[in-house]
């Protein structure tokens, strides 16, 4: 397979994730769309790593997975904290960063 196909697929997945972030208002779904975008970046990294025949891009992809896991843990912690305070789970209602 040409590398082109993988990179264009990765661009398509990235824009799908961006579209989801623009469209949805539940913070949970926005976190899922962030995952989509990070995974699209991972796909491009691994495809380029295969293209040049060098394993370093795969190490980057593994580190990106670690960052994504951290982001998920903190984001879900925030969602649980918001839910505990009986605030609405809607990013448009949560636009003011007051306690």
């Amino acid at each position: 397979m040409n590398t082109e196909w993988f990179v264009v697929l990765s661009a398509l997945l990235f824009s799908t994730g961006a579209l989801g972030i623009l469209l949805r208002r539940s913070p949970m779904v926005i976190l899922l769309c962030l995952e989509l975008m990070l995974n699209a970046g991972n796909l491009a990294l691994v495809a380029f790593s295969r293209m040049v025949g060098n394993g370093q891009g795969q190490v980057f992809a593994v580190i990106v997975m670690v960052i994504a896991a951290c982001e998920v843990v903190v984001g879900l912690g925030l969602i649980v904290a918001i839910f505990r305070r009986r605030l609405p789970l809607d990013v448009d209602d949560l636009r003011e960063l007051r306690g």
Binding site: E4, L9, A11, A18, G55
Partner: protein, 172 residues
Amino acid sequence: MEEVLFFLAAIGALGGAFGVIAMRNPFYSVLALIVHLFSLAALFLLLTSAFVAAAQVVVYAGAVMVLYVFVVAYVGGGGESAWEPIPGQRFLAPLLGIALFVELSVAVLSSSLLALGEDGADVKAGFGNPAAIGRLLLEKFLVPFEASSILLLLAAVGAIVLASNRRREESA
């Protein structure tokens, strides 16, 4: 054979991605994301990177998704309101998404990377297996590896502090 596998996995990945943004119930979004992640693992296998594919299945589809399912079950599904705070959001957002895709595709396909249209370099048999990745991680990328482990520890502590049951406003 390779092309068939690629298109099957690509359809799975795209279908999962569209499922994530189209489902009303967050629980179904999480399930669609699991489909997406498995398809991506198949794509990683096609790119001869076995370790990344295995990490994808074990870390994402295993651990992270279980976390998501627990939080969705705790918070409860509940669709979002149909009310649109930004007028025309439903029409503007797809327009901007398509614009982003066109821009990225033009940037990739018009780049001067000649190897993009080829099958990729010839690689040795052990390319992308756990031994090769482990050697790279622990020799060349030792400092990023340790930094990411500290970051994981910080994230875990931060999540416990954020989600803990203490009533901070009573003491303040």
